[in-house]
């Protein structure tokens, strides 16, 4: 079941952090061991048009990020635009060359043979991408892909919370109980409502919802339901928000 997968993967990430605050660098280190790739890197979106490499486990991984930023093409670029993963299992295949004519030979030159780009996105929230590479051809098997997607979910939530100034501990109950990602429609609906209430961007609205859940030791979906049922509002001023318990 997916809950077990999350728990196992958080444990792997937390092990890399060795007691320090968990960062996306720890996710990259853990995913390399976890899914059997040779390296990993994270590119973040600074603004709609500016992206930068945040971390990479080795020079090939950082080279792949640099190439894509420089050439404006590659799996990571496509994953930003499309919102789904881009899994290039063999860069020597004609499809890869046709799809990324400048990136493909350059990536082969620096020693990559397979590249897997996973979006760090939640709907319209585009945080960045997690790129994995192998020096040999071959895809991720279903179990490796499932793990890689959960590593990407974890990296995405770390970026989101870091940008909002909250630094959750992976051992925290809120993460354990709910997972770094909640697919419940009500959470995403509430994000849209909070965006309007605060007049902020969608990523900030989602981060505020999550921060509220941490602070009140509530499940994210319960906070979201209170917003959607109009029992809880978020106000732009720093005044304390009405709690969902008081309002109901």
């Amino acid at each position: 079941m997916s809950g077990d997968r999350m728990t196992r993967i958080w444990a792997q990430v937390a092990r890399q952090a060795r007691g320090a605050a968990v960062s996306v660098a720890h996710v990259c280190a853990a995913v390399v061991d976890g899914v059997g790739v040779d390296g990993a890197g994270v590119t973040v979106m600074v603004s709609p048009t500016v992206r930068e490499t945040m971390t990479a486990t080795d020079t090939v991984a950082s080279g792949l990020e640099d190439l894509q930023l420089m050439l404006g093409q590659g799996p990571c670029v496509d994953t930003f635009v499309g919102g789904g993963p881009v899994l290039a299992v063999d860069l020597r295949s004609p499809e890869c060359l046709a799809r990324w004519p400048a990136f493909t030979p350059a990536a082969l030159d620096i020693g990559a043979r397979a590249v897997f780009a996973l979006p760090l996105q939640v709907g319209a929230i585009r945080l960045g991408a997690l790129d994995l590479y192998r020096g040999r051809p071959g895809g991720l098997n279903p179990a490796e892909l499932a793990d890689a997607l959960v590593f990407a979910d974890t990296a995405g939530m770390l970026l989101l919370d870091a940008a909002a100034g909250t630094q959750p501990d992976l051992t925290e109950l809120a993460w354990q109980r709910e997972g770094p990602r909640s697919y419940h429609a009500v959470v995403h609906q509430a994000t849209g409502m909070v965006l309007v209430q605060l007049g902020c961007a969608v990523d900030a609205a989602f981060a505020r919802l999550r921060a509220y859940a941490y602070a009140h030791d509530m499940r994210l979906r319960d906070v979201a339901r209170a917003v959607v049922e109009r029992r809880l509002r978020f106000d732009p001023d720093p005044a304390p928000e009405r709690s969902a318990d008081d309002a109901s």
């Binding site: 079941m1 997916s2 709907g123 895809g139 997607l149 697919y183 995403h188």
Partner: protein, 233 residues
């Protein structure tokens, strides 16, 4: 249903599958046709999230209680069972099955559903999701209805794979993830519109869908514009 009606639905679906079509709107329409043709009360589609669970991607109505019932089946319920076994699951009377999936049965009964069916979405040897049918009357569906339901589930699979030729397992994973992320964008946009207009989520979906149609845009593109603020709704 008449054969003519049936033919019209398949022609409509085939007509939709042109370049750059709107996947979520297509799947939504398919679930609406399921309700009409199969004479059930409600229908929903769940897709594999490639992490071992199912996620809701379309429903015949966007009423919150139906969406929540579909989402209850992330890990357990008739759809996950259908997904994991690859076989149709039929519950002819929910009243006698409470022990099997207590949370799901309680929620379905509360809405007034008496029977539920799950049909697999198949791609060659892989199962990529399930079509969920609900009825307020107890009882089994006829063999003909099941066959037709399966045909509609297969059409949904074709729609999902249409945007690019699926020759590799990797491409399938890419398509599934993209579809699920698109669904999230639509939920975020529903929230924006619901708050701006002080309406409920169902009305919000109808407004978004109507505007997308009347301006000839994809629901997903319009929804992203609404969330990013480039479209003030």
């Amino acid at each position: 249903m008449s054969e003519r009606q049936l033919a019209e639905v398949f022609v409509e679906m085939a007509d939709t599958l042109v370049d750059d079509f709107d996947l979520i709107d297509f799947l939504h329409r398919l679930t609406v046709r399921c309700v009409e043709l199969l004479e059930v009360t409600a229908a929903g589609l769940l897709l594999s999230d490639d992490r071992g669970a199912l996620q809701m991607v379309a429903a015949s109505t966007e009423q919150t209680r139906l969406l929540e019932l579909l989402q209850l089946q992330t890990d357990t319920g008739p759809c996950p069972e259908c997904f994991h076994t690859g076989r149709a699951v039929t519950v002819t009377d929910l009243a006698t099955t409470a022990g099997r999936w207590p949370q799901f049965v309680a929620a379905a009964s509360q809405i007034g559903f008496a029977s539920v069916h799950a049909l697999p979405m198949r791609l060659r040897t892989e199962i990529i999701g399930a079509l969920n049918l609900f009825d307020t009357r107890p009882g089994a569906l006829s063999a003909d209805t099941i066959r037709l339901g399966q045909a509609l589930a297969d059409v949904a699979t074709i729609g999902l794979l249409q945007t690019r030729a699926i020759s590799r397992r990797e491409t399938l994973a890419e398509q599934l993830q993209t579809a699920l992320n698109t669904r999230v964008i639509i939920e975020q946009a529903k929230g924006v519109v619901a708050e701006r207009r002080q309406i409920d989520m169902d009305q919000s979906f109808v407004l978004l869908r109507t505007l997308a149609r009347s301006t000839n845009r994809r629901l997903s593109d319009l929804s992203r514009a609404v969330v990013e603020g480039s479209e003030v709704f």
